[in-house]
C-alpha cells in the first residue's frame, strides 16, 4: 500500500513539474524576441540621461568627442553629418529590418535623431529592447540639431526648445478640482501596500 502511495505521489510530482516545464516552454515559444525586459528598458529610457541636451551636444562638438559617435538619422534630413564619426540613415519604419539591425549593432556608440524627439526616443526604446547598447537620443529633431551644430546659440534658445509647458494652461482651460486637489492621492504607487484612490472617470 505504501509503495503504491509512494508511486502515486512520485508520479503526481513528476507530472506537476513536467506541466510547469511545459508551460515555461510554451511561454518561451510564444514570447517575442527581446534582449532586455520591458521594465529595464523603461527604467533606462525614462532616465533624463537618455537625451543629449543641446548644450551637451555643443560641448561634445567643441571637444571633438562627437567624432566617437555614430549618428543614426531616422529623418534623412540632417545636414551637419561631418560633426559625427559616422552616419547611418535608416528610415524609422525600417529600423528593425534584420540587415539594418545588424549594421546598427556594429556601431560602438550611437546617437539617434529623428523627425521628432519622440520618434528618436521610441527608436532608442526599441533598439535597447533588441539588445543595442550604448545608445542615446538627441533632444528635439534633426532640424534643431543642425541649428545647434551650425551656429553659436544662446542658452535661452536651448531652453525655449525643451519639452515644457508653453501655455498657462489653467488660464485657458478652467479645470478646477482636477490636478491640484487630486495630486496627493495620485502620486503613490499601488504596490499593494498603499491606497490608490485614483479619482476621475470619464
Amino acid at each position: 500500500m505504501n509503495t503504491i502511495n509512494d508511486k502515486m505521489l512520485a508520479n503526481a510530482a513528476l507530472l506537476f513539474v513536467l506541466a510547469l516545464v511545459f508551460v515555461i516552454l510554451v511561454q518561451w515559444l510564444l514570447a517575442p524576441s527581446y534582449s532586455l525586459t520591458n521594465k529595464a528598458v523603461l527604467e533606462q529610457t525614462a532616465n533624463e540621461n537618455i537625451l543629449i541636451k543641446p548644450q551637451q551636444l555643443k560641448a561634445m562638438q567643441a571637444d571633438q568627442s562627437l567624432k566617437a559617435f555614430t549618428l543614426l538619422d531616422l529623418s534623412g534630413k540632417l545636414k551637419s553629418k561631418d560633426a559625427f564619426g559616422a552616419v547611418l540613415t535608416v528610415p524609422f519604419a525600417d529600423l528593425l529590418d534584420s540587415d539594418q539591425l545588424k549594421t546598427i549593432k556594429k556601431a560602438d556608440q550611437l546617437l539617434v535623431v529623428g523627425d521628432k524627439e519622440s520618434e528618436a526616443l521610441m527608436a532608442v526604446q526599441l533598439l535597447m529592447a533588441k539588445g543595442v547598447t550604448n545608445i542615446t537620443a538627441l533632444a528635439n529633431d534633426a532640424a534643431f540639431t543642425d541649428q545647434v551644430l551650425g551656429q553659436e546659440l544662446q542658452a535661452e534658445f536651448y531652453d525655449a526648445h525643451a519639452e515644457k509647458a508653453r501655455f498657462d494652461y489653467g488660464r485657458f482651460l478652467k479645470a478646477t478640482g482636477n490636478g491640484q486637489q487630486k495630486a496627493a492621492k495620485q502620486t503613490e504607487v499601488p504596490g499593494a501596500v498603499k491606497v490608490v484612490a485614483a479619482a476621475g472617470g470619464c
Binding site: D6, A10, L14, V17, I24, Q27, W28, A31, P32, S33, Y34, S35, L36, N38, V41, L42, E43, T45, A46, F92, A93, L95, L96, K116, E117, S118, L121, M122, Q125, L126, A129, E163, A165, F167, Y169, G170, F172, L173, K174, A175, G177, N178, G179, Q180, K182, A183, T187, V189, P190, G191, A192, K194, V195, V196, A197, A198, A199, G200, G201, C202
Partner: protein, 408 residues
C-alpha cells in the same frame, strides 16, 4: 492568501473563507500522513521515524522551488511576500520550549489540533495546555515583551546573511534535504533492525530526487524573469504602428470628448511629473508618471477599465514612451494625444484661421473649435466632468501582520 489578494485574484473579503478551506485540507493531509500519532511524531527524537524531518524539509524545498518558478512565470510577485522579522532571543527560547513540549507531549501545535479533532485525549490535554500558555503569555505580555522583541534582526534572509545568491542557496538546500532523506532512512533502518536490502530506502525515490535536483538546476539556469513574456507585443508590430502614427489622437477629437462627457470613453492619463500634474491637468485625468507606468497595479488598473486609454504630457515624447512600454506589455486600446498639452492648447486657442475658401467640413471644424475655445475658457468642460467624478478604483490596503504570527 499570499500575493493573490494584493494582485487582485482573490477578494479580500473571502480571506477567511479560503483560510478555512486551506485549513481543512491541511488538517486532512496531516491526519492522513500519520501526524495525529504522537509516537510517530516523537520518533524523530528517538531515531525510529524521521517522517517529521522529511515532511518539513519537503515542504521547505517544494515551497522554495515553487515560489521561484512561479515568480519566473509571473504568477507570484516575490517582492510582495511578507517576511516575518527575526527576533533572535525569543526564537531561541521559544525553540527550546517548543522542543521540550514536543518531546514531552508528542505533538506540535498544529498536529495536536489534528489529533484532538479525531478524539485523542492526550492531544486534547495538550491543546488545553497550549491555550493556557497562550492566555498566560497574552496576560503578561508586557513582562515578556523585552525578551519577545530582543535580538531584532529585521526581515533577514539566510542567503543574504551568508552573502549568497538566492538561487544557489535553494540549490544547496535541495541537496542538503535529499542527503538528509537518505541518511535518516539509513538511521531508521539501523534503529528498527532492518537489513539494508529490505531497508526503507526504495529505488522509486530516485525519480523524485532527480526531479527535485532537475528543478533546482533549472532555477539556477533561468534568469530572474524572462526577458520577453509570452503576452508581449513584438517589436515590429509596435514599430509599424508608431511609424504610421496609429497611436495618435488629434486635439479636435479630445476637445469634442471633453465637451461631451457622455461620449467620452477615454481614460485620460497624465504622464508628467507630480508638480506639473498638481498645477494643472485635463478634466477627469488620472496621474501615472511615465517612469512608473509598468509598476504593478497601474497596468492592471488601466486594463480593468476596459476603455481606451489616452496618454498626454507637455509634448508627446513622454506619452509615446509610456505608450510604447504598455503596448509592448500587451495593452491594445491605448493612444497618445498628438502634440501633447502644448499641441492641444495651440490648436484650440492659438491656431489662426488660414485665409481662403473653406468647404463644409472645414467650416464645421472651425465653428467647433471656436465653440470649444469659449467652453473651455468658461470652465464648461470641468463642470461637466466634475459632476460625474468618482473614484476609478481602490486597491486594498494591506497591513503587515503583527510580528510573531505564523508557524505550524
Amino acid at each position: 492568501m499570499g500575493p493573490l489578494i494584493p494582485q487582485g485574484f482573490v477578494n479580500p473579503d473571502l480571506n477567511l473563507f479560503f483560510a478555512f478551506v486551506i485549513g481543512l485540507g491541511f488538517g486532512y493531509v496531516l491526519e492522513q500522513g500519520g501526524f495525529s500519532n504522537s509516537r510517530k511524531l516523537a520518533g524523530v527524537f528517538y531515531g525510529y521515524d524521521f517522517v517529521v524531518l522529511r515532511v518539513f524539509f519537503t515542504a521547505a524545498i517544494t515551497a522554495a522551488l515553487g515560489l521561484l518558478l512561479f515568480n519566473y512565470l509571473g504568477w507570484v510577485n516575490y517582492d510582495l511576500l511578507y517576511i516575518n522579522p527575526t527576533y533572535l532571543w525569543s526564537a531561541l527560547v521559544g525553540g527550546v520550549i517548543m522542543g521540550f513540549g514536543f518531546i514531552l507531549g508528542g505533538f506540535c501545535p498544529g498536529t495536536s489540533m489534528v489529533a484532538a479533532v479525531i478524539g485523542k485525549i492526550d492531544a486534547m490535554v495538550f491543546v488545553l495546555g497550549l491555550m493556557i500558555g497562550v492566555f498566560f503569555f497574552g496576560s503578561f505580555y508586557d513582562e515578556f515583551a523585552p525578551l519577545y522583541t530582543s535580538g531584532d534582526l529585521g526581515s533577514v534572509f539566510i542567503f543574504d546573511t551568508l552573502n549568497m545568491n538566492r538561487e544557489w542557496f535553494v540549490f544547496l538546500l535541495v541537496l542538503v534535504a535529499l542527503a538528509a532523506f537518505i541518511v535518516t532512512r539509513k538511521i531508521e533502518d539501523k534503529v528498527n533492525g532492518l537489513e539494508p536490502r529490505q531497508g526503507l530506502f526504495a529505488p522509486l525515490y530516485v525519480g523524485p530526487f532527480l526531479l527535485m535536483i532537475g528543478v533546482a538546476v533549472l532555477i539556477l539556469l533561468l534568469p530572474e524573469s524572462p526577458r520577453a513574456k509570452w503576452f508581449e507585443t513584438d517589436a515590429k508590430t509596435i514599430l509599424t504602428e508608431a511609424a504610421e502614427g496609429k497611436q495618435y489622437v488629434e486635439a479636435d477629437e479630445l476637445a469634442y470628448k471633453l465637451l461631451n462627457p457622455k461620449e467620452n470613453n477615454f481614460v485620460l492619463v497624465d504622464v508628467r511629473n507630480d508638480a506639473a500634474f498638481a498645477e494643472f491637468t485635463l478634466p477627469g485625468a488620472i496621474h501615472i508618471p511615465t517612469a512608473k507606468m509598468l509598476d504593478m497595479g497601474y497596468k492592471k488598473l488601466l486594463q480593468e477599465k476596459n476603455q481606451p486609454v489616452l496618454f498626454f504630457g507637455f509634448d508627446d515624447t513622454d506619452a509615446n514612451q509610456a505608450w510604447l512600454a504598455l503596448r509592448r506589455s500587451g495593452l491594445n486600446d491605448i493612444y497618445v494625444l498628438e502634440g501633447g498639452l502644448n499641441g492641444f492648447f495651440y490648436h484650440v486657442f492659438q491656431a489662426e484661421k488660414k485665409p481662403g475658401k473653406y468647404n463644409e467640413m472645414q467650416q464645421f471644424e472651425a465653428r467647433f473649435i471656436e465653440r470649444a475655445r469659449d467652453a473651455f475658457r468658461s470652465g464648461e468642460a470641468a463642470q461637466k466632468i466634475n459632476k460625474k467624478a468618482k473614484p476609478v478604483t481602490t486597491i486594498v490596503e494591506m497591513e503587515a501582520p503583527p510580528a510573531g504570527q505564523g508557524g505550524c
